[in-house]
Amino acid sequence: MKRVRPGGLAALCALLVNGLMFAAPASAHHSAAMFDHAKVVPLAGTVKEFKWMNPHGWIQVIAPGPAGKTTEWSIECSSINILARKGWTSTTFKPGDKINLTMHPMKDGSAAGFVLKVDLQDGHSLSDHDY
């Protein structure tokens, strides 16, 4: 390993950095500190996509937006091992499913939240962050 030419490594790093600068801008993602943990608000809408993924899942929901107009909400879930222990699966939601959920909303009022509980149309419920 010691024989790796340092110049070669620097060039490789420069190439990587150069490439990354051309990557697309970030889509809307948020840290948990962005959510207002003092508020619990309901959201009723239609599932557009359920992202069963690490490091945590997302439910994309079409519902009335903060300004009243229908918009796409990004609802953040726990890590999928936590979700799996609480009975969620990768097929819990299909696009088109009608759901009612409660969430901690974004502090800045944008169309996103931290999911607490989801009621499905068939009458059963799933909880995520239950504190």
Binding site: P6, L9, C13, L20, A23, A24, A26, N54, I80, N81
Partner: protein, 163 residues
Amino acid sequence: MTLQPLLAALEAQPFAQAIREGTFLFPAIECVHVLAVVIVVGVVFLMDLRLLGGRAHSASLRRLLADAVPCAWTAFAVALVTGFLLFSSSATTYAANPAFQLKFVAMAAAGLNMALFHGLGLKDAATWDAAAKPPRSARIAGLVSLACWVVVVASGRWIGFLA
């Protein structure tokens, strides 16, 4: 030029999907990645502090480097492979993450600093090899390296707070 199709293709690979959608692989690979980074940074800090004249005086600088550099490279290789696997699981998202980008800028800077030091700074090392306080250029190289690796670790941890 755009990397987008390449990143999307990487993300679509079965191994990337398995890491993204499984309950075990992501945290397991993350553990190994963190462990490898800890070893890289720990060993690099030992060399940097020796350059700064602060620690590890019992051996001459070049003896310390002979022991530590291969260790750092081995751990770096493990970090690179595990990091690539984690990256592959959501390549398009991570590539667009400003903290991820900063991490690679800091690694490039650390690499450049290391290349300059090993290429130029060590040329006359025979004359100050055993000195507890190396010459100014070596101390600066040590300080720059410390700073770069602190940024690598901090921005690496920050990725999760932006994504």
